[in-house]
Amino acid sequence: MSKELIRLKDVTQVFDGETVLKNVNIYFNDKEFLTLLGPSGCGKTTMLRIIGGFQTPTSGDVYFNGERINDLPPYKRQVNTVFQKYALFPHLNVYDNVAFGLRIPKDAGDGSKEKIKLSKEEIDQRVREMLEVVSLKGFEHRSIASLSGGQQQRVAIARALVNRPKVLLLDEPLGALDMRLRKDMQQELKRIQQQMGITFINVTHDQEEALAMSDTVVVMNEGVIQQIGTPEDLYNEPKNAFVADFIGESNIVDGIMREDKVVEIFNRRFACLDSGFEKDEPVDVVIRPEDVDIVSEAEGQLRGVVTSVTFKGVHYDTIVDFYGFKWLIQTTDYCPVDSHIGIKIDPDGFHVMKKSKYSGMFGDYSSYSEEYDEINDPTIIDEEEAEGAEDED
C-alpha cells in the first residue's frame, strides 16, 4: 500500500577499525513516521548521516526512489535535516534562516542545466506560511540567540520543511528540551508530519517518545537492527531480551518450551499462547510488570516475598523476590515489605523469545531495590520452598 522511498542495502560503516553499523538492511516508506531508537552510540546518527549524504558508507548501497544515490552529494538530495542542537545560522535572523534553502537556485530535476529560482514574493509567502505552521508568526526579525530552545527547534524544523523535502530527518529533535515542552512537541511533530504528508525519520534514545510518536520503530543496538515494528508489536512481541528490556519494563527469566503453548519457568509449567518452538527448547520468557496479578499466597502460581514498594501515582512498583530472582510488579494493591504473596499470570501474560546474545543480560530487578536503599537479602527463600513449588504442579 505505501510506497517505498528509501532503502539501505547491506550498509556497513567502519570508523577507525570500529564497526559502527553492521550490515544494515532497512527501507523507509512514503508518508511514514519512523523512529530509530537505541542507546547512545549505537549508530543512529551515523545512519541518518548516510541517508542525508554526509557520510559515505564503507560498504553497501543507499537507494532513493529505486535509484542508487551513494555518490549524490547532500545538496542534491530531496532530504532535509533537523540537526542535533539545530545548527541554526547565528548570523541570520529567523526569517533568513528559514529562507536560506529557498534562496538557492535548484536544479530543475529534469536533467537540463536550467536552474529554478524562486521569486522574492514566492519565497516570502512560503517562509511566512511555514512560520505559521510551526507557530512562530511574528518572530521573523528575531535573532537566533534571543530564542528559547523550543523556539530554536521550531525554526530548525521550519528551515528544513520549507524546502518541501520528500523526507525529513530529525536527529534527537527533542533532546535539548525540558520534559514538559518535550511532551508538547511530540504532539506538535506528529501534527506537522500529518499536515505536510511526508516521511519523518526521527532519532531518539527515549523509548517513551518513540512509542508515542511513531508509526514504525526501529530498535538498534551496537550497530545492528534488533527489531522493526509498530510500537504495539515491539511492546507485545519483542524479538529478544534487549528489545524487551529497552521497550518498557520487563521481567525476563530463563524458561523451557515443553510443548506448543506450554512454557516452564522456575520448574513449573504455565499455559501460554506461544508456539513454533522445538520441544524442550531453552527460551527467554518476558513477563510485563502489569500482567502479573497479586493474590494470596495459597492461590498463587508462584510465591515470593515483597522486598520493596514505591508509590508511583497510579500504581505501586513492587519488587518481589521469587526464589532469588527479583521481579518488578506494577499493581494498584499495596503489599507491605516482607509480606509473603502469591501471583497469577494469564496465558497472554507470557511472551516467549528465542535465546539470543542478550539472554541473561536484562530483565532482573535485583539492582532496582538498591536504588531505593533497600537491603537485598537472598537467603529468604530456601531449597524446600522451591521444591515444594515444583511438587504442586
Binding site: 542525508g52 547532500p74 545538496y75 532535509n80 535535516t81 540537526f83 545560522f89
Partner: protein, 291 residues
C-alpha cells in the same frame, strides 16, 4: 560587593592612565604649542599652526595610507586562503603550518628587513639570480631595452613587499582562529539546504569569518600605516611615509617635536576613524583588537 570587585580594575586603570592617557595628553599639548623666540630664549606658546601647516605633507599622508591599504589588501588576499586551507587540514598539518608562519617572527624585525634589502638590491641575490638564468637578457631581447638589473629596491613595491612579509601572520592568525572555531555542522546544514561548496562559502563561511577579517585588517593596517623602518630601508628614502616623517621630527634632522606630535595626532584620528568604519562591518569583536 560592587566596589570590591571594582578594586581588581585598579591596576588596569593605572596602566591605562600611565601609558595611554597621559602620553596622549602630552602629545596633544605638544601639538597645540610652538616654540617662540623671545629675548630671554625660547618659550612655548599656544598655536594651531602645526596643524594648518601640515598641508605640506599631504603627499606623505596619501602615500602612507595608500601603501598600507595595498599591503593590507594583499595580506587579506593571501592570508584568507592560507587560513582557510589550514583550518581544513588535520591537527598535525595545522601545527606544522602554524610553526612555519610564526618562524620568521622569532627573528628580529630589522634583521628580516635588512635581509630583504640584500635580496632586492640592484646587485642583490634576486638580480644575480635573474642574470644567471637569463631572465634579464630575455627581458632585454623582448623589450629591446638594455638593463643590467631590475629596479626593485627603492620602489613602492619593495615597501609593500616588506610590509606584507612582516605583517602577513597578523592577518592569518585571527582569520584562522575564527575559521577553526566555526561550527562544522553549520556547513553541513547549508549543504543540507541545497548549497554547493561555493554557496556554502559565500553564505556561511565568509559571513561568519568577518570578525576575523576585521581583526586581521586592523592588525595589518595600523602598523603598516605608521611603519618607518620598512619604508626607509626598502624604499631607500624615496618612499617617505608618516612614520619616517614623525621620526624625523623627533630624532632626525628636521627636529620639531611639536609638528611631529601634530602629525601623529592627525594620523591617529584618521586610523581610529578607519577602524570604527571597519568595526561597523564586523560584529564588534574587532573592537577589542583596536584597544
Amino acid at each position: 560587593m560592587r566596589t570590591k570587585r571594582g578594586l581588581f580594575a585598579v591596576p588596569y586603570v593605572i596602566w591605562l592612565a600611565l601609558f595611554v592617557v597621559i602620553p596622549i595628553v602630552i602629545m596633544l599639548v605638544y601639538s597645540l604649542t610652538v616654540e617662540v623666540e623671545t629675548a630671554t630664549g625660547t618659550e612655548l606658546a599656544g598655536s594651531v599652526e602645526n596643524f594648518t601647516g601640515m598641508s605640506l605633507y599631504m603627499g606623505v599622508f596619501g602615500r602612507s595610507f595608500w601603501l598600507a591599504l595595498v599591503a593590507t589588501l594583499i595580506c587579506l588576499l593571501i592570508g584568507y586562503p592560507v587560513a582557510y586551507l589550514m583550518s581544513r587540514e588535520g591537527p598535525g598539518f595545522q601545527r606544522v603550518a602554524m610553526a612555519l608562519i610564526m618562524l620568521p617572527m622569532w627573528m628580529n624585525f630589522l634583521l628580516r628587513t635588512y635581509s630583504w634589502m640584500a635580496i632586492l638590491e640592484n646587485n642583490g641575490l634576486l638580480n644575480q639570480l635573474f642574470q644567471k638564468i637569463g631572465v634579464i637578457a630575455l627581458y632585454n631581447r623582448l623589450t629591446g631595452s638594455d638593463v643590467e638589473y631590475f629596479q626593485m629596491i627603492r620602489t613602492p613595491g619593495a615597501v609593500v613587499l616588506g610590509m606584507v612579509y612582516n605583517y602577513l601572520p597578523f592577518m592569518i592568525l585571527p582569520i584562522y582562529t575564527v575559521l577553526t572555531k566555526l561550527d562544522h555542522r553549520l556547513i553541513e546544514a547549508a549543504q543540507d539546504l541545497g548549497a554547493n561548496s561555493s554557496t556554502v562559502f559565500r553564505r556561511v563561511i565568509l559571513p561568519l569569518s568577518v570578525s576575523g577579517i576585521v581583526s586581521g585588517v586592523t592588525m595589518v593596517f595600523v602598523p603598516s600605516v605608521s611603519t618607518f623602518a620598512i619604508s626607509r630601508l626598502l624604499g631607500g628614502g624615496t618612499q617617505m611615509m608618516l612614520g619616517d616623517l614623525i621620526e624625523n621630527q623627533f630624532l632626525g634632522g628636521a627636529y620639531n617635536p611639536h609638528l611631529g606630535a601634530a602629525i601623529a595626532m592627525v594620523m591617529m584620528v584618521i586610523v581610529v576613524i578607519c577602524m570604527l568604519v571597519m568595526n561597523h562591518f564586523g560584529d564588534g569583536e574587532g573592537e577589542a583588537v583596536m584597544l
